[in-house]
Each structure stands twice: as structure tokens, then as C-alpha cells.
Subunit: 210 residues, 2 copies
DNA sequence: CTAACAATACGTAGAAATACCTATTTTTCA
DNA sequence: TGAAAAATAGGTATTTCTACGTATTGTTAG
């Protein structure tokens, strides 16, 4: 490892985790030049000192790790971002891929995995764990069924608790059209032929409807 | 503080958090005699060395922190348990109160709160944070509306995705009765007068229907 | 270009959820 | 014991969701 002199900024709204991360990075020989409890403070510090690496929690008050990364990209900073997260949710993963996220690892990962991720990212490569990929494939109920954009849009509205009539009004289309879409969604998702099965499914999977 | 000689066992399936907790307790002068990634190992160690304190994550593989605490009570151990958790969910809180849980704190708490909790518990008292109480009161949609046992039972079945007909069959009562209960639940919960509003509410609050 | 797909729309029908009534029996508690 | 609360059941009507058809218009990829 040639991490000896690398500077890093970290942020996590869970103090215990922040402390653990801080200690661990120090053990690795990295210099933690800033540790923050929210995204906004972290971004300010990153802009100020432009370190080669920032390790950020995904879910934080003020600004999420993703938002911080987005701003870094907008500002043209060279700071690489590794996201720490509890969830292997697809919507975040997709967004992470679109931004300049260099790594995405789960908090449940072993410290050794984290060390590997840091090494990889500092050497200029990306680190998106295999474990993460597997998990995503299993959880991704949508890609398998290849819903069309309209179907997805309607599915999101259903998940938000809107009725067919409301959806029709909102999208300026006929209720019958919405009906048809619902029908198609139900077959694609292979749902039970039972009343409200689509509504129930949508309510339970609303977080995956990125 | 007179924590100088106290022994403690900790467990959390998030390695970074476990490390942070370990370091923090060491800073406080406590002696961490065991740090584990799952509940089972932690329980074994607690039974072996019967320390005065154990700080456990609520959600862990093998055994949850609650299960470990339940076993400790069953075995008559004097080890006091503080639960660490990410969620302020009522169902866990209720269970925690019924077991020999001495403290229940959120991972988002400041280190100072954690220190206070440890002091309080080691001195023989309980620590259930005020913040936690407030949060629970807000999230507890049920106690305010005083649903009857039957109404709760039906609400749970609705949350499980069952239709009125299915519920009637399952409970050996008329569909009309279920209708009436639904109606009453809707007024008690003050839901919108809109189709499926009860179903949507039930789906979104199923975790609070302990 | 054309064949496939997507989005649009309509008709008919049935199952389900809800509203707003009334009414009886059972339980609970003061 | 007597009153209140809860659980039970029914009637009638409306709205919504879903199924299963058909059919027209764009769009797009081979």
C-alpha cells in the first residue's frame, strides 16, 4: 500500500460509525483531514481542501452522499468518492453509477473489504463489490419484466396512492388507457389475479421504483 | 465516572460500527472482553463471563439483540443489556420494555448520549432516551386512536394483503361485519374518504401493527 | 420499408371497497 | 345489576380495480 500520505474526508451521521471509520483509516495510514456529521459540511471541506478521497454515508441530513458527489462532479473536482450505505437499493446504485462515484460499499462489509475498496479507488479504478451486484440482481424486480416507460410512470403513481382516475387526469390520458397499462403491468409482474394485488405490490415495492 | 474496571461485551454486524464502539468504550475506560459480529457468539460469551454490561445491535444475524436479551433473562444472568438500533420502531421498543433491557438507544445518537446511557445503566437505572420517546409518540398511530382488539386483528390481515372476503372466512364472521370494522377503523384513523385509503395506510404502516 | 412494439382508447362485466343506514347479541366495567 | 362498549349482521348504493376483448396511431429497429 502506498496510502501513507493520502488525505481523506469522511462523513456519516452515525457518530459511532464515524469514529470507527476514522480510527480505521488512521490505522491504514491515511490522514483524515475532516470528519463531519452531515453532507453539507463535508462538501464545504472537500471544496476547500480537495483531497484525493472522500468516504461518505449515503443517507445524511442536509445533503446525502450522492448529492455531495453530484456537486463535486459539477465543480470539476478530482476528489474520488466512496459511498457507504446500509442498503443495496437499486435506485441508489443506478444514480451512483451515473455520477462520479468511484466506489459503493455496504456498511456490513468486513473492514478488509473496505481496505480493498480504498486501495482500488486510490489507484484510479472503481470498486463496486461483487456481493453488491448479486444482491441487486435479486432485488431488481423490474429489469426482469422490462416495463415500458409509461408503465413505470403509472406504477410510480400507483405506489404514491393515486387511483386510476387521478392518474388519467394527471397524465392527460383516458382512464381506459391507464386500465390497459395496469393490466399489462400485472401480467408482466406475474401478479395474482386478485383485487388490489397491483396496489399492494406497488405499495410494498415503492422504494425500488426509481 | 467509575467505569474504570467494568467489563463489557459488544456485538454488531457492521464491522465499522463495531470498531467505533470498541474504541469508544476503551476511551471511556471500560474493558471490552468480547466483540462479535452476531448474536449467538455474543450470547455464548455473555454466558461464559457474565459481564455487568452488554451492548448489542438489535438487528444481527443468527440472533437479534432482543433474542440475546431474552435468553439472558431466561438464564437469570445479571448482565444488563443496552440495545443499539437504527430504528425507532414501536414494536421493538415494546418488546424491549418487556425484557430485561436496561437501555435502548439509536445509532444516530451522539457519543455523549451513549456515555450517559452507559453510566446510567451501570449505576443500576434504566436509560430510554427522551428523544426516543418523542419519536415513538409521533409514530405510534395506534394508541391514539384506541382501536379495539378485533379492529387491530382485521387491520393486520388487511396489511397482509387479505380481502374482506378472505378475512371474513378466516375469522368465521360475516363480510358485513368486516365491512363495519373497516368503516370504524377508517373513522378512527381519520383516513381520507377515498377508495383503498385503508389498504394503502395498512400497507405503509404494517410494521407498526405489533 | 415494414414488422414489432408502445401508447392510445373503447365496451362489457364482475369482484371488491367504501359509505351510510339499522339492529341484535355479547362483553365489560363501574 | 345496568349502562356502555364491542362484536355481530344485514340493506343499498357508489366508486374503483381488474379481466378480456378490439382497434387505431405512432415510433423504432432490423
Amino acid at each position: 500500500m502506498d496510502n501513507q500520505r493520502h488525505q481523506v474526508i469522511i462523513a456519516d451521521d452515525h457518530p459511532i460509525l464515524l469514529k470507527g471509520l476514522h480510527e480505521f483509516l488512521a490505522d491504514l495510514g491515511l490522514e483524515v483531514i475532516g470528519a463531519f456529521h452531515n453532507g453539507k459540511d463535508a462538501l464545504d471541506a472537500i471544496v476547500d481542501s480537495q483531497p484525493p478521497l472522500a468516504i461518505l454515508d449515503l443517507e445524511m441530513p442536509e445533503m446525502t452522499g450522492l448529492e455531495v458527489a453530484a456537486d463535486c462532479k459539477k465543480l470539476g473536482l478530482k476528489t474520488r468518492v466512496i459511498l457507504l450505505t446500509l442498503h443495496k437499493e437499486l435506485k441508489f446504485y443506478q444514480q451512483a453509477k451515473e455520477l462520479n462515484i468511484s466506489g459503493y460499499i455496504l456498511k456490513e462489509f468486513a473492514l478488509n473489504d473496505l481496505r480493498k475498496a480504498i486501495d482500488t479507488v486510490l489507484s484510479g479504478q472503481e470498486f463496486f463489490s461483487e456481493k453488491l451486484f448479486e444482491g441487486l440482481k435479486k432485488e431488481d424486480c423490474l429489469s426482469d419484466h422490462s416495463l415500458t416507460p409509461s408503465e413505470l410512470k403509472i406504477l410510480r403513481l400507483i405506489a404514491d396512492g393515486h387511483s386510476t382516475k387521478e392518474i388519467a387526469e394527471q397524465l392527460f390520458i383516458s382512464e381506459r388507457t391507464v386500465d390497459k397499462h395496469r393490466s399489462n403491468i400485472i401480467s408482466k409482474l406475474n401478479l395474482e389475479k386478485k383485487h388490489n394485488s397491483l396496489l399492494i405490490w406497488a405499495q410494498n415495492n415503492k422504494d425500488n421504483l426509481y
